[in-house]
Structures are given as C-alpha cells and as structure tokens.
C-alpha cells in the first residue's frame, strides 16, 4: 500500500491550494503538478482496490473520533471501484488538457487546474465518505468547482449556463440541508452506518419526507428528470475536457450518493421501484430530445443524461444482477463518453456555434479524431464487439430475470433512437462534402490529446473483447452495495481500521 484513503482527498486539495504559489516560481508547474498528483491518486486508488478485493474494506477514521461520533472514510469494493474510475478519468482529462490555453494567458490556466483538482477531490470525497454531512460538504465543493469551470469561457452563454447550474445547485443544497436536519433531529447521528442501523426506529412520515428531500437534492446533481435542466447548458458551455469530467466523474458521484441513500440508508419500500420509473422517464425524454439537437456537445449532454437514466433503471431493478449491470454501465459510460467529448471538441474546435452541420466531411482532414468519434459512437450504442454491448446485455438479462418485459422493450426502442442520432453525425463526418467556404478550419489535435483518446479507445476494445477483465471487480462491488448489514458491521465495529 502506498498510502491511505484519506490521502485521496487531502492531497488534491492541498495541491489545489499550492498551485498558485508554486506557479509563481515556474509557470509550467501549474500544469505538471496536477498530472503528478492525479497519477499518484490513480496508482494509490488502484492498489488500495486490489488490497480491498482480497482482504475486505478499509474503514479509515479521521481525527481520532471513532464512529458513530466521528467522520470515517469507507474504502470498499464499491467505493474503491468508483474512486479508481474517477481518478483514472481525472488523469486522462489532465493528459488531454495539458496544453489547454497554453499559448494564451497564464491566469486562466491556473484557475483551470485549481478547480479541476478541487472538482476531483470533491467527487472522490462524496464517494469515500461515511458521514452524510461530510458528503454534503463535498457536494458543495464539487458544486463550486463546477460552477467556476462552467463559466470558464467568459462570455454570455457560459455565464448563463453557470448561473443556471448555481441556481439548481442552491436548491439542491437547501433540500439536502433540510433532509440532514430532519435525520439528525430524529436519529441524533450523522454517520451513515449508524443511520442505516437505526433507520427503522425513525417515524415513517419523517423518514419518507427526508428521503424525498434527499432524492430532490441529490437528484439535481445526478441529473434525473425533471431536475436536470441545468445539465445540457453546463456540458455545452464548459470546455470540452470539463464536459468529459462532468460526465465521467461528477455525475457518477451523484449517482453513487443517490444509490447509497436508497439502498443502504433508507429502508423505505418502493424506493427502488421509484428509481426504476424515474430512470426510465429520464432515459426516454433525454434520448428523444437528443435526436433533435443541432449542437454537438448538447447532443452528447442529453445522451449522457439518458445513459444515467439507464443506470438508474438498472439500479431500480433491485437485484444484485441489476446492480452489476448498473455498475458496468457506469464503467463503460465513464470510458466512452469522455472519448466522445474529447474527439467531439476537436471536431467543432473552431466553430462558434458548435453545430453538427459544420462537421461535414471532416473525416478526411482529421482521420484519427473522426475514427475515435466513430469508435465511441459504435461503443456507446451497444454494438458488439465493443465495450457497451456487454453492459447492455447485462441490464437486459437482469431485467428479464425479473420479468420486466415492457422495460426491456422500452430500453431497446430508445436504443434505436440513439443509433439514429449518433450515426447521423458519423455519416456527416465521413460522407458529406466538406464545405470549403465555411469558417470552420479543422484543428488537428495535439499529441497528448491523441494519446489520451487512444488510451480510452484501447480500453473500449479491450473490455469489448475480454469483459472478464472487469467483471470480477464489478461482481464484488455489486455484492457490496446489496449487503447493507455488512456495511454497518464493518463501520460500527471498526472492521479493519487505520487510525490517523
């Protein structure tokens, strides 16, 4: 082991604060330090995950106060798995945006990397923490970084998108605070395991109200319908790699929080069915809306929302196979969506409006980027032998085992819609005549961007041809989520602890 879980949060935060200072020494450090930090986090997370898969979860106590009084971090197969994905993606995002705004000014680059670090730190924190108020704090950290990053390109649209995000975020914060207050007043504790242990003692009315407020609050972050209005704007106006980060990191944290609430903390019946329905609605509305989009990044944003809806459907099935499918979907989405955002941002690089119509014929001028985009499209739609197929198959078999035929039919119909809008774009890239008179000059990606995209592409092919590489971890993670009692036991009896 090269460290303990708390470092996964502490170090990026520290780095974020140090970057401006170090930047005054040497400008390049602003770009290098995040890379080092993220690489370290990735390695740490992976090795901890490996350890945890063998030996059981790590519960880490912070500041010496033991649970249920103090705050603890839980690094279990589930949380560790998500953390590893997030740190890996963070590293890829850094790799892609290494030269971001390189030749422009120094100020924005500094801000970019600071907030990127904070974003990742916050997201990891949401996942790792075992205390609901601590989670709220991290949600706020993520929120602030996200608002800043959305408004990165100073301009009217970006500011408006950021403002909408801020507005919704504040609503989310309010709802969460009320919910936390209710729970604390009823149960007297903020520790997740303790809440889970005592939830049956809570007054049913208050319980349900708290759950609803949690759903609304976290749902805004997890982009469920109808709370996701901010998302398309934010994804579109944020810089390309940030869109990837949102899709791959932030929303996963939100989903995790939601799922933790429903599965572990609350024992309200009908909650999983609710997730199923709301996920289905999100999926259908998002995918059909994506069909009508004219801007590339907006289309990808809706597609992302739709995929998250599908993840919720999978969680909502309620069985361990459903959770397996959901986690698999999250993994695949975390790899494929960033690839689409990365290649997409280069494909519309010099365009002001970033419309799909301007992408005609770019396949000839940017063969690699176009190929990556096409690979991503094929994969996300679920065509074998690429990665997305296996996750789709898992969710369908999980649903079939529960006899949910109508759900299967709806999912498949929506898949057809997905195919249409992705393939329309791919066709445009390759088969339409390049408009020489247009102002969109193809901008070839730099070597680091290509490398980042290639890594993701190779992963897609790898998982596609050999899914067993990841299924072992996924099985352990899904078992972990289902097993609430184990979670409580691990934390409250201090399982394997590391005193700090």
């Amino acid at each position: 082991m090269v460290g303990s879980p708390v470092l996964l949060i502490a170090i990026p935060l520290l780095a974020a604060f140090l970057i401006p200072l170090l930047g005054m020494i040497w400008k390049e450090l602003v770009r290098i330090i995040p890379g080092l930090v993220l690489a370290y986090m990735m390695v740490l997370s992976a090795s901890l995950l490996y350890y945890v898969l063998e030996n059981g979860p790590i519960i880490e106590i912070l500041a010496g106060w033991r649970p249920p009084l103090g705050i603890n971090l839980v690094f279990s197969p589930l949380t560790g798995f998500l953390t590893t994905i997030m740190t890996f993606l963070g590293f890829i995002v850094w790799l892609f945006s290494y030269r971001f705004k390189r030749n422009v000014e120094f100020e924005p680059a500094k801000k970019y990397f600071i907030f990127l670090m904070m974003l990742i730190a916050g997201a990891v924190g949401i996942v790792l923490t075992g205390d609901i108020f601590n989670q709220f704090v991290f949600i706020e950290i993520v929120g602030i970084s996200a608002y800043a990053l959305t408004a990165f390109y100073t301009g009217r649209n970006a500011a408006e998108a950021s403002f909408k995000y801020l507005l919704m975020g504040s609503l989310s914060a309010s709802a969460l605070l009320i919910a936390i207050a209710i729970i604390y007043s009823q149960l007297g504790t903020l520790n997740m395991a303790d809440i889970a242990n005592n939830i049956h003692l809570m007054d049913p009315n208050f319980k349900v109200i708290a759950l609803i407020l949690f759903i609304v609050g976290i749902g805004i972050e997890a982009e469920i319908f109808p709370l996701n209005g901010w998302a398309p704007d934010a994804y579109t106006e944020a810089p390309g790699p940030i869109g990837a980060a949102f899709a791959g990191i932030v929303v996963k944290a939100g989903v995790y929080a939601m799922v933790r609430m429903v599965f572990t903390l609350f024992d309200v019946s009908g909650a999983t069915e609710f997730l199923l329905i709301i996920g289905l609605v999100t999926l259908i509305i998002a995918e059909t809306t994506a069909l009508r989009q004219e801007k590339l990044k907006r289309m990808l944003a809706y597609s992302s929302i739709g995929q998250m809806g599908l993840v919720f459907v999978a969680f909502g099935i309620g069985t361990v196979e459903g959770i397996f499918a959901a986690l698999f979907l999250m993994l695949n989405h975390a790899i494929i969506k960033p690839l689409l955002f990365f290649s997409g941002s280069y494909l519309v690089f010099n365009s002001k409006d970033k419309k799909i119509k301007e992408m005609n014929g770019l396949g000839k001028y940017m063969p690699m980027t176009a190929a990556f985009f096409a690979l991503g499209s094929f994969a996300i739609v679920g065509l074998p032998p690429f990665a997305g197929f296996w996750s789709k198959l898992s969710i369908l078999t999980a649903a079939a085992n529960e006899g949910m035929l109508l759900i299967i039919a709806l999912i498949l119909m929506v898949s057809v819609v997905e195919i249409v809008y992705y393939f329309r774009v791919v066709n445009r890239i390759y088969f339409f005549k390049f408009d020489k008179a247009s102002t969109v000059i193809p901008h070839k990606p730099r070597i680091n961007a290509v490398f980042a995209m290639a890594v993701l592409g190779i992963l897609i092919l790898l998982i596609g041809f050999y899914p067993d590489a990841v299924t072992g971890v996924l099985h352990k993670a899904s078992d972990d989520l289902m097993n609430t009692q184990q979670y409580i036991k691990n934390v409250l009896s201090l399982g394997q602890t590391l005193t700090n």
Partner: protein
C-alpha cells in the same frame, strides 16, 4: 489450437492485416485479402468436422461454437459466393478510394456470417449478427450516396430486428436459465402460451428484416443498389440467407412442436407469397438495373419463405434448394451489373444498351443466371421451382400456387427487360468503345453461372447436404423418396428425370444451331443494328431507335391497381410523426433557469403529496 478458433483468428487477423498492409502496397493487400478468404474456406471444408464444438465462458455466459449439418448448407453458400465475389472484387474495385477499408470490412462481414453459422449459443449468435449488421451498413454507405436516407434506414430496420431478437434472447435466458439454442428448442413446448407466441414473433421480426420479408423489406432496394456491386453479390446472395437460416430454425424447431404453430406457418407462407408478387411487380417497373435486381431479390426470397413456411419435407427442400440457387444466380447477376458499371459507367437501362457483342462473356453469364432465375429447365432454378409447386399442390395450398405462378410468370418480364435492356437492342454510337470486363471479373461470374447448369442436371449434388441438414432438424430422409442424383419426385410419385431431358435438349439445340449456321455463316456478313427492315427506309446512323423507356407499359396499365400503395410512404410518415413528437418533448427544456427551478420544486411537492402511494 482448435481449428474453429484458428479460422476466426485468421479472418480477424487477415482483416487487420489487409487494412494495414494496404497502406503500404496494393498488390500485397490483394494477396493477403485473397489468402484470408481462401485459407479459412479450405480449412473449413477439409478440417472441421460436423458436431465438433469449442466451448468457453466470458462475462458469465457460456459460449459454444460448432457446425451442424444444417448450418453447413449455408456455409457453402457464404463461402462459395464470398470467395468468388472476393476474387471479382479485387479487380472490380481497382481505382476506387478507401480500398483498404473495403477489403477489411468485407472480410469482417464474411467472418460474421460464418460466426452466425457456427454459434450454438444465443449470445454469440447475437454478437455475430450485430457485427454482420454494422459491417454491411458500412458497405452500404461506402460510396457515400444518400447515406442518411438509405444507410440509416437500413440500420434502423436491422436494429429493430436485432433488438427484437435480443429481447427474445434475454427472455429465453430468464425462462430457461441457459443461452444454448438446443435448450431453447427443448424447453419451448413447455412455455406458457404468451411466451410461445411472443418469442417466435420477436425472432421472426429479426430474421424477417434480414430476409426482406414484407413489410420489413423497404430497406432492401436502397441498400442493395447503393453498396458496391462486388459486395452486393454477397449481401443479396449470402447475407439475406442468414435470415432464412434463423427462420427455418424458428419454424421447424420451435413453432412446429406446438399445435397452434400451424397457423403461424400459414401466415408466414402467405407473407412470402405476397412478397414474391409485389417484389416482382416493382422489379418490372425499375429502370435501374441495381434496383431491379434488388426487388427481384426480395421476390426470390419470397419464394424461399413460402417453401420454408409450408414446412413439409418437399417444401423445405425446395426452399433450401432455391436459397442455394439464388445465392448462385443473384451473385452472378450483381457481378455482371458491376462489370457493366465499370465498363460503361452507368447501370440505367435507358442509357446503356446493345452490349452483347462488346461484352459477350458477361452476356453469357447473365443469360445463364437469368434462365436459372426464371426457373426454366434445364438449369437449377427449375428444380427449385418445380419442387415448390409440387409441395404447394401436395399440401393443398392451391391459392398460393396461383400466387406464386403469377409472380413467376411476371418474373419473365423483368428477366427479359434485364437482358434486352443491357445486351440486346440497338447498338448506339456512344457505347462503341466499351470492352469486355477483365478476366478476373468474368471468370467468377462464369463459374457461378455454369454451376447453375451443373446443379440443374445433377440436383442431387446439393440435395444431399440439404437432406442431411433436414434430418438434423427432425425430418426423415428424403433420398430415394423425393430425389435421386438427377431425378426429382413429388408427393404422388410423378417425376422429372433430368438427364434424358437435358441430353435431348442439348441434342436439339446443337442440331438446329448447326442447321442454321453451317451453311453460310462465313458467307453472310454481319450488319449493324441500324440495318433493319422498317417499312422500306433504312434508318440513319444518328437516329436513336432504342426502345427502353416505359418498357412494359401495357403490363403496368393492367396491374396498376395493385401498385398504388407503397409501404415506404407509411414508414416515412411514421418517422416524421415521431420526429415531430420528439421536437415537442425537446421543448420541456426551455432554457430558462427559473423554469428548471420550478420543475424541481414542483417535483418535490408532487413527491411529498403522493408519498404514501409511492413509498411505504
């Protein structure tokens, strides 16, 4: 290393190698391409034995690959058409762009089809099915024409079909706990009625799309005409048969074991019949050779579906025999059209004509293929048609006999149109420069064409594997009862003995040909087509006497009521309606931040109001 794995690895590696090597050297790429086609075919024919399987597990599912007697028939079609079309393609595609991609994709497509035939479990079946779909999609959009309309339409239909199949597959998995095809077959009679109805319908939607059964055929004319002709030989000749393969398995192994299955088969047979008629009528109307052949394929597949749907031993044999023959003669015809396109630049009957003296070998191959298509003895198509009619009469489907016969007779019209439009008729000056296609293109055509003749005289050659396949499916052997090496029988014992007939035909033909030509062929001189009898005046060189536009006008005036409705228009209307609906849902995202906040609050309020109904 198991032979089966080796075959697939060679295909996959060969595809990658073709793509990469093509960037270095063209000749190298062609060699690797042909090698990748030929080596696995040879391996398959010699080394792989029927019944041997390989197993492995992945992602929690167990996979099993192996060849059965029944899939062998289709493997012959795939490899036969694939290899010859591949040889043809090497020459036909010279000079076009993106060739590395074409050849690599071609190999992947063939691999996918073989994969489907090898799959003994449903997951690999689906995987290979999807790979086949997207590789053929890439071929359809290869030329870059009409990609949004034709290409996406093809993909949508294929996707709907494939997803219907996927739904059936996962439902089966949940009901039986296993993904093996054999376990589905075994468990099927035990399902409850709604499942017994649902699963075959879903599977048939999937297979019906690929075999262009009405009303799922609308993608076919566009897709077949837009793909490069070298690939369309495979597309129409082999790929559509994958749908037939699935259909037969559903029909015979599943539906037949249930008493209500009888109605199912009737409906399918009738849909095949309607497909045959409407396909033929629309084929006659076309002026573009590619579209004509595409609609003709749809119609021919209709015959096969009728045979397969009826299900009696004779009918099934006729369906499968027609499937093999269709692969042969349609492959030849598409190759011929490709050759003409290459030499003249167009495939429209109203533009090019009179090629018989300029491309005699192409004409000869087309002549054989057309005669086989029309079902005229002594070529192979007759055998299939004969068995089909006999089986229809024998199983008392008299109305279907009339329908099929009507379609068959009307087929003569487009057969003649094809031959006359391209090869016969006036020789115009603008086409006097046209030369015969290169040997590498002509030889595969001739090989396939001659094989239709061989199979016509000795149908037993292919009926034997078909019989073995049918036995595997549960039929009793038909050898000696319905056929010998070159005799075919029907249910009542009437027969057609091909050998004496063929010898007689050849005898008559040679005699009269000699009679007509011997004296004086050398002494007569050839005159151009302008030198004709036309009420006393000789047409001038520049006068255009080609008869091509509105070629079958009187026929259309007569059948006009049948052709008034087009299914395509209904689909387009439906799609437009959906887009309008989606536009409406898009407006939920108003772009106004306050609206979103309002949504959130309303959502919270609604949940709180209905909390007792939703939770607890």
């Amino acid at each position: 290393m198991e032979m089966i794995y080796l075959i697939f690895i060679i295909f996959l590696g060969g595809a990658g190698a073709t793509y990469l090597l093509g960037k270095i050297n063209d000749i190298l790429r062609d060699i690797i391409f042909l090698a990748t086609l030929l080596v696995p075919s040879v391996l398959f024919l010699t080394q792989v034995s029927i019944g041997e399987t390989v197993n492995f597990t992945m992602a929690g599912f167990s996979f099993q690959w192996g060849i059965t007697y029944f899939s062998t028939i289709f493997a012959y079609i795939v490899l036969g058409v694939g290899v010859f079309a591949g040889i043809y393609a090497v020459k036909a595609m010279k000079g076009k762009k993106n060739l590395n991609f074409f050849f690599a994709n071609y190999l992947l497509s063939i691999m996918a089809m073989m994969g489907i035939l090898f799959s003994r479990d449903l997951v690999s079946f689906f995987i290979f099915w999807e790979i086949m779909t997207w590789t053929s999609y890439l071929m359809v959009v290869f030329n870059g024409k009409d990609v949004q309309k034709v290409g996406i339409k093809y993909f949508i239909f294929s996707a709907i079909g494939a997803y219907a199949m996927l739904m059936a597959i996962v439902t089966t998995y949940s009901l039986t706990g296993s993904m093996m095809i054999d376990s589905l077959v075994a468990a099927y009679p035990g399902f409850d009625f709604s499942m017994q109805l649902l699963i075959p319908i879903l599977l048939l939607i999937g297979f019906g799309v690929k075999s262009a059964m009405m009303p799922l055929h609308v993608w076919a004319p566009g897709a077949y005409s837009h793909a490069p002709m070298a690939y369309t030989s495979v597309f129409s000749g082999a790929l559509s048969k994958m749908g037939i393969y699935g259909m037969v398995i559903v029909m015979v192994s599943l539906v037949s074991h249930v008493p209500e299955g009888h109605w199912f088969r009737e409906i399918i047979a009738w849909m095949g019949g309607i497909t045959a008629v409407m396909g033929t009528l629309w084929a006659i109307k076309q002026d573009d050779a590619k579209k004509l052949l595409a609609y003709s394929s749809v119609a021919q597949l209709g015959y096969i579906i009728v045979g397969v749907g009826i299900g009696t031993p004779l009918a099934m044999m006729s369906g499968l025999f027609l499937a093999v023959m269709h692969g042969l003669f349609k492959g030849t015809l598409f190759m011929a059209v490709g050759a003409i396109e290459r030499q003249t630049g167009t495939t429209n009957f109203t533009e090019v004509t009179g090629l018989i003296r300029k491309m005699p070998w192409t004409f000869l191959a087309s002549l054989f293929a057309i005669i086989a298509l029309a079902g005229i003895p002594p070529l192979g198509g007759f055998i299939g048609k004969w068995m089909l009619y006999e089986s229809l009469i024998g199983s008392e489907h008299y109305m279907l006999v009339i329908v099929i016969f009507f379609s068959s007779t009307a087929a003569f019209l487009y057969c003649y149109k094809f031959l006359f439009g391209f090869f016969l008729g006036q020789e115009e000056k603008e086409w006097s420069h046209v030369k015969e296609a290169p040997a590498m293109m002509v030889v595969p055509m001739l090989v396939l064409a001659v094989s239709t003749f061989v199979l016509g005289v000795f149908p037993g050659l292919i009926l034997k594997p078909i019989d073995a396949g049918m036995q595997m499916l549960g039929y009793t052997s038909t050898q000696g009862h319905f056929w010998e090496l070159s005799v075919i029988f029907n249910d009542w014992g009437n027969q057609v003995a091909m050998q004496p007939i063929v010898y007689t035909i050849i005898g008559i033909f040679v005699f009269f040909l000699a009679f007509l030509t011997i004296k004086g062929y050398k002494e007569t001189r050839y005159v151009t087509t302008k030198d004709i009898s036309s009420s006393g005046e000789v047409p001038k060189e520049h006068e255009n006497l080609t008869f091509a536009v509105n070629f079958m006008q009187p026929f259309f005036r007569a059948v006009e009521p049948l052709m008034r409705r087009q299914i395509d228009k209904y689909y387009n209307g439906f799609a437009n309606g959906l887009e309008a609906l989606f536009d409406f849902t898009r407006k939920i995202y108003t772009g106004n931040g306050q609206t979103y906040a309002l949504y959130a609050i309303i959502f919270a309020v609604l949940l709180l109001l209905f909390k007792n109904n939703l939770f607890g």
